[in-house]
Point group: C2
Chain length 205, copies 2
């Protein structure tokens, strides 16, 4: 039975000052917006972008283990205001698309940190992984899929890999936009079709 997903959060996972992650997230948002209306389980979905940079989370500083808090309403039980705010953001979404860079063969600390802050807010929800790197970010994607499974997230098996080389980064930062070459490369690598497969898996959870 397809889920009835209403709020999908597309997560910008890097929090560096110099980053192309917001541009890539915007592109994934545009691709998803053009397809969700005819993906079973996602027809009623609203897409929003969750930028981890805007959440202002420091390195994990809650005294309690998140999994040990009351499952029905953990939000008021956190000690820190930034955690309560983050809990409310994640709690208000039904599904997630993580758009992550690969750092040193895994996910950035900013993403692992944001995930570790919560538990019940994630559990049982569908998600998909979009990863980017000079070879497509496959190692980060594999780690992230395992981490999300550990958090009881229903993660799509299909990963969307995006090849982003250093020259693409420099050009994007200089132009303030992803180049047509990059977008064409991704289109030729079937990125929209792969993203649709991942979205269909999310809708079928």
């Amino acid at each position: 039975m397809p889920a009835n997903i209403r709020n999908i959060g597309i997560v910008t996972c890097s929090t560096r000052s110099t980053r192309v992650n917001p541009y890539i997230t915007q592109h994934i948002h545009a691709l998803l917006a053009a397809m969700v209306h005819d993906v079973p389980g996602l027809q009623d979905a609203t897409l929003s972008i969750i930028d981890l940079e805007a959440q202002g989370l420091p390195l994990f500083d809650e005294p309690a283990v998140p999994a040990g808090l009351p499952a029905a309403d953990p939000t008021p039980h956190y000690q820190q205001a930034h955690t309560r705010r983050w809990s409310a953001v994640v709690g208000a979404h039904d599904a997630f698309v993580f758009v992550t860079p690969q750092y040193n063969w895994s996910v950035p600390a900013s993403l692992k940190n944001a995930l570790d802050y919560l538990y019940h807010e994630w559990a049982g929800k569908p998600a998909a992984v979009v990863a980017y790197g000079s070879r497509g970010g496959g190692r980060a994607a594999a780690h992230l899929q395992q981490i999300l499974t550990g958090l009881k997230i229903q993660v799509a098996a299909t990963v969307v890999p995006l090849v982003v080389i250093m020259g693409d980064v420099d050009e994007c930062l200089a132009q303030g936009a992803l180049s047509q070459d990059v977008l064409q490369r991704w289109a030729s690598a079937d990125v929209p079709e792969t993203l649709r497969s991942a979205a269909e898996e999310m809708g079928a959870q």
Copy 2:
């Protein structure tokens, strides 16, 4: 040909306020101190503890990619004082034993963050992984081995897994020490022998 390792840093990887990591690090330090004198390549080694909490690293905030800095002396090229301090600490050690908890099937963000801050300071050095969790932290260890390999660290294949259940944590925090039960359990699970194998691999790099 065995390395001539002089300074081994035993890294306490969790930075939470409520944590058993320092106690476990201390135990690993004691076990290693009793054996390095007869491990080829490590006979001259001095052991010191590097507590990531004391490094005060915020989430990665350097503008440059660490791998792009001058390999021979990257330290002065970082913009932040905390990064220059951390670069000097890691640069002054020849090998590392990472003592890490498992959070959500992977390493804590505090460890990934500390690793991602640097590159040339890690490259080519031997390391070993000690992981703990309710089932021994094996998933965190596997992720960490891959991340360290990505950083060109020569990581020992042998992992030291430590079973630590929630009751052990509560008891350790209440008593200010690991219980004799826990230490006996690890001894029965051949932890000293496994640690020696990992140390021998480090010495043989």
